[in-house]
């Protein structure tokens, strides 16, 4: 402990270099924490299930591009454990232009059953009655209202891309959900059916609100078995699994993020190790003098390693503090995007912070061990000779 002040003095010897080294640890650490948070959010238990939503989603077994008969909804409604059933059709289309900044989910739904299945959604402006009574009416998520400044009574025009029609809608309500992910627009399914009668008998997905968690688990198998020998076999899964399916479309996201994280850690170790080696090289004579005075090899090893560790710990602390400061803002930003459902699961996970801190400590140890060992092993005479 009595050598700790000397370690700190050496850390501050070249402040710019120390700050740059810390920066080279802090920034990747932020990325690692972010990726760790994403990975952890992917693994989180179904938040809807834990809030007692017990929703499951049925779609065509082939994929979301294939439709299933609307008659399936009635058959599912009659199953034991099904409390309410509603049908979703992905409308897609363009709002204003085709840029990604104006992208948000747009669905044609049955308003009556929609409100039964999504009974956690609350109409915070306008009313359900106004929406139900206006076939050209729609409800929009609170996040979209924040983004576009819409008000009840405003007109919204969507130009179809899958369906060759233009829908002109009136905002009749604004809804919000407890996890803050209300970022979609819902309008009457009948509007679509009247404009395109050919689609009247089909739907994209069927959402079922189950009586309880056990019913939800059981119904997943029951529904798929019910339709397995039909022309339209189904795949049923929990709401969370369905949402995560979109993420998995990107490929093996976990493997990708883990691989990127490993590469980043490797690069940081190399940068920090190079800095520590440079620092130790510059002090060859000084270290030789310390050993001349009687400092043991182990003390020199500890001091050089301690220096690397102190830099890594300071950078780790700073990195985690920065991440804790930016994470809520990042989550807020993602909530109003198509990744909203995923963002709702984001938290400051203690295990992610612990891993981040462990990475910082690991970087300090690995980066410092070779220069420290070399400094301790170099002969005093060789070290003193470098004076000239």
């Amino acid at each position: 402990m009595r050598f700790l002040p000397l370690v700190f003095k050496n850390v501050l010897r070249k402040k710019t270099r120390t700050l740059l080294t810390m920066g080279s640890i802090v920034l990747p650490l932020l990325v690692i924490c972010l990726m760790g948070t994403f990975l952890r959010a992917l693994d989180r238990p179904d938040p809807a299930a834990t809030r007692g939503m017990f929703r499951i989603v049925t779609r065509h077994k082939v994929g979301l591009g294939s439709l299933i008969p609307v008659t399936y909804a009635e058959k599912i409604r009659q199953l034991d454990g099904a409390r309410a059933v509603t049908k979703f059709v992905w409308f897609g289309g363009r709002y204003r232009d085709q840029s990604s900044k104006n992208f948000f989910p747009r669905f044609a739904v049955e308003p009556e059953t929609f409100l039964q299945v999504f009974d956690d959604a609350k109409i915070v402006r306008g009313s359900a009655e106004e929406w139900l009574s206006d076939r050209a009416g729609c409800v929009v998520g609170a996040n979209l209202v924040k983004r576009y400044g819409w008000a009840v009574g405003d007109k919204i025009v969507l130009v179809g891309d899958i369906y060759p029609i233009k829908v002109e809608l009136t905002v009749r309500g604004v809804f919000d959900v407890p996890d803050g992910t209300a970022s979609a627009l819902f309008f009457h399914r009948k509007y679509l059916e009247e404009a395109l009668p050919a689609f009247a008998g089909t739907t994209g997905t069927i959402w079922t609100k189950c009586r309880d968690a056990a019913s939800a688990t059981a119904l997943i198998d029951v529904i798929d078995r019910l339709f397995e020998n039909s022309s339209y076999p189904t795949k049923t899964e929990s709401e969370k699994a369905f949402q995560m399916g979109f993420v998995s479309m990107l490929g093996n996201v976990k493997l990708l993020l883990t691989a990127i994280g490993a590469v980043i850690v490797g690069v940081v170790v190399l940068i920090a190790a190079n800095t520590m080696a440079m620092t130790a090289r510059e002090r060859v004579t000084e270290i030789a003098v310390l050993r001349t005075l009687g400092f043991q090899r182990s003390t020199i090893l500890g001091m050089v390693l301690g220096e690397s560790l102190v830099i890594a710990l300071l950078a780790g602390g700073l990195g985690l503090a920065l991440f804790a400061a930016v994470e809520p803002g990042l989550q807020r930003g993602l909530l109003s995007t198509p990744m909203g459902a995923f963002a709702a699961s984001m938290r400051l996970f203690p295990e992610v912070l612990a891993v981040g801190f462990a990475v910082a400590v690991g970087v300090g140890l690995v980066a410092g061990v070779v220069p420290a060992a070399r400094s301790a092993q170099r002969s005093i005479v060789d070290g003193l000779r470098q004076i000239a």
Partner: protein
């Protein structure tokens, strides 16, 4: 006859470069009595610094034996040597070798950190050492804020902080102007005369050697001349003549 404080017996030191062996010291014998002030002179490559390093226990002889204060230094392990150095040897380097991020006080305190002393005890020792070299008022100065002579005095304070019996100095005035060099030599004389320190000093400078009681000349790893002053001090003329004779 009393046992010498330093005894160098048949010491051979070879350095190896690949398969080539370079003999730096070749069967050297030397005795130094306690409280003596010895100047080691000789041309570059004569083995002066190597001999100093061996006596101070920072290098080991290839063969032969070195005893300091009754302790066989050449038989000690690396760790034992480090501990022995911290208790028994004070080093004075040509380029002072102070730690630039530490103040004069902290530099002098460095060797004391290895001793089982409390902070108060260390403070007392540091202040005493700095007062001996007349730099008590500069204790909070960093090396860059001191002149070369002052830096060397801080280095001497560091060397005497643990109160070692033996001081080894490698060209202590080699990087100083004449006035500062003179001050350092006076200080070393004082450490020898008043505090009883045994001093072994490597030097090229006849004026520095003239402060010693004994002049040892090395050439090509062997002892060429060993002059002990009859009057207590080597004269500058004798030192210069000896240096010239060896360099011929």
């Amino acid at each position: 006859m009393a046992e010498p404080f330093i005894r160098v017996e048949n010491v051979v030191k070879k350095y190896f470069r690949d398969t080539q062996a370079l003999t730096v010291l070749d069967g050297l014998n030397l005795d130094v009595t306690g409280g003596d002030f010895v100047a080691l002179m000789g041309p570059s490559g004569s083995g002066k610094t190597t001999l100093l390093n061996l006596i101070a226990g920072i290098d080991r002889p290839t063969t032969g034996k070195i005893t300091v204060g009754g302790v066989n230094v050449s038989a000690m392990s690396e760790s034992q040597l480090a501990k022995w150095r911290s208790n028994n040897i004070g080093f004075i380097f040509q380029l002072y070798n102070l730690v630039p991020v530490l103040t004069a006080y902290e530099n002098v305190e460095l060797p004391l950190l290895l001793q089982p002393l409390s902070r108060a005890q260390r403070k007392k020792q540091v202040e005493l050492s700095l007062s001996v070299v007349d730099l008590a008022d500069r204790k909070s100065h960093y090396p860059r804020q001191l002149s070369g002579g002052q830096e060397q005095r801080v280095a001497i304070a560091r060397a005497i902080a643990t109160d070692p019996k033996l001081l080894v100095a490698d060209e202590p005035t080699g990087d100083l102007d004449a006035k500062s060099g003179e001050e350092i030599l006076v200080l070393m004389e004082r450490l020898n005369a008043e505090f009883g320190k045994t001093i072994v000093m490597v030097t090229h400078d006849p004026r520095a050697a003239a402060r010693a009681h004994r002049l040892v000349h090395l050439d090509k790893g062997v002892l060429k001349e060993d002059i002990t002053a009859a009057t207590g001090k080597i004269s500058v003329g004798v030192a210069a003549a000896a240096a010239a004779a060896v360099s011929k």
